[in-house]
Symmetry: C2
Subunit: 360 residues, 2 copies
Amino acid sequence: MTRAHNFNAGPAALPEKVLKQAGEEMLDFNGTGMSVMELSHRSKDYEQVHNEAKAGIKELLQVPDTHDVLFLQGGASLQFPMIPMNFLPDGEKANYILTGSWSEKALKEAQLLGQTKIGASSAEHNHTYIPDINTMDVDPADAYVHITSNNTIFGTQWQTLPDWKAPLIADMSSDILSRPVPVDQFSLIYAGAQKNLGPSGVTIVIIEKEMMEKIPQSIPTFLRYDTHADKNSLYHTPPTFGIYMLNHVLDWIQNRGGAEGMQKHNDEKASLLYDTIDHSGGFYKGHAEKDSRSNMNVTFNLPTEELNQTFLEKAKEAGFVGLNGHRSVGGCRASLYNAVSLESCEALRTFMLDFHKNHG
Amino acid sequence: MTRAHNFNAGPAALPEKVLKQAGEEMLDFNGTGMSVMELSHRSKDYEQVHNEAKAGIKELLQVPDTHDVLFLQGGASLQFPMIPMNFLPDGEKANYILTGSWSEKALKEAQLLGQTKIGASSAEHNHTYIPDINTMDVDPADAYVHITSNNTIFGTQWQTLPDWKAPLIADMSSDILSRPVPVDQFSLIYAGAQKNLGPSGVTIVIIEKEMMEKIPQSIPTFLRYDTHADKNSLYHTPPTFGIYMLNHVLDWIQNRGGAEGMQKHNDEKASLLYDTIDHSGGFYKGHAEKDSRSNMNVTFNLPTEELNQTFLEKAKEAGFVGLNGHRSVGGCRASLYNAVSLESCEALRTFMLDFHKNHG
């Protein structure tokens, strides 16, 4: 059995060690004679997994006691409407910073539900950069400011995370726990697990407890953050297997130096590919501007569309998975989430060098 | 390794064969060199799983071409608000038939969003029965009529499913695919997978296509049924592993005679326990009236609270899992979802007979 070099944009690679353990525990978790999927979500065995995963997020991201950690469903796509439903009252404006397709989708849902403004946008340059934080139109009176910390499609990432007076909300779906973040600067952080932390179907929410006092009484129970906070994310049946996998991945991250360890590991992987691009004499052309480059998604094009296609075909034949770029950028994209190994990145680098030699 | 006798109310037992296969495929699904969790939801390998699961539901429940099958997240608890958001316009009334705690929760969410009425209720008798269909207050002008086909907590089940002129919506979370159902009589059927069909985190929705023409433009994209129907439930990242497990469970059901086979199997299991109750001379007292008894959840009490507790303790020691009754009914509950084996039911029956002999 050969494991693939998995550069999928999400769902994505998971640590082999975690998958092995999940396979071994499939018929008998923790001596229960049941799979973790067969446990009641009210059982002691499951609750331990659930609370360990929550404690793991708290510890690894140094979440202060002012904030709570929730496990929800529906991915970022359900957060898009939940955020304005909970936090955009009549007469106020929600501020969206547009740095890619996902922030645009988040804005669109807020526009259905209330008043919005656009504090900055990189749309006119096909989202090749993160705008300068200091020139953004942000006001303490904004209901909240919404940012997307990493842009999967365009391959850009906020290098510095802002500290504004208005409540700051971030979609960190594609870079959560890939680096340390100053959680205390945020009122709400959300992320689907399926890129850096586990399988699809679990959404991690880190929310400032004070924010939940603002939630109006009129909105449905399931769509209120306080419903889930008050019940330790057991208001309804949680995605138990996904949270179990998340818990194992958090252990794996802990054993590799936590958020700092991940950052070092991810810096090293991304540098391998960016260096290859930068030393290719223009054969490989990165989409993102250098000071906005993402450590998670390396986006690049070859000199012609024909070469893009040849590169992708040959890469596929050589066992590289998921290198096709998104149609908004074209070309190629290598997603380097936490569980993508240095070895896979080295193999891709070698492939890129060889391809350049043969087709340059 | 001994597998437990798992009578959990949900999440619940899964077929051992399916768990084994999932364990074996954990590092390499279908020769991809990846777990199914690591596949892109846009990949050919995953899409095959996704479409097979959809076709499996269609075939096993004989879903007519007038209806579509969706895979959502959030369980029944998210369906509770989604249904009135999509199908309860101003000036109309949604009709809720109350047969247990879950229908009451569904009603509560609809009350937040529009006008409702109660077509029938068994609340005054602690939900020991399903009211007579012919005496229910149902009107063709109702926006829709909502029923709960099986009541997990109380152990009652609709023996006949109604055929009304108003759009009929059913929460089948606790009996989906445990028996054949006349899908054409329903405008919408929804069910969390975690009792009869798979792990938690996947919600199956069967929806009449015509219903989706009624959805107002104002509601958030994620919370509209047509969003998911138009994209084959790939509008956002689906819970891929859950759908993969569902697909395996559907194959297992197919190989055991489909919905008819499950009904026979479930009748046999439930009869074993109900016969034991009925021949115990009142030592075991069923909560549900006989003509409303559920094949999925057998609820009963012993003569005293002390005996209930002794029974539950001894049963736990003997390796039976999940027999505690819900606080609304007390006593004991054995949930006999599809994957609970006849052997587990026979073992429980023997245990009940022995316990009666020793404590009667």
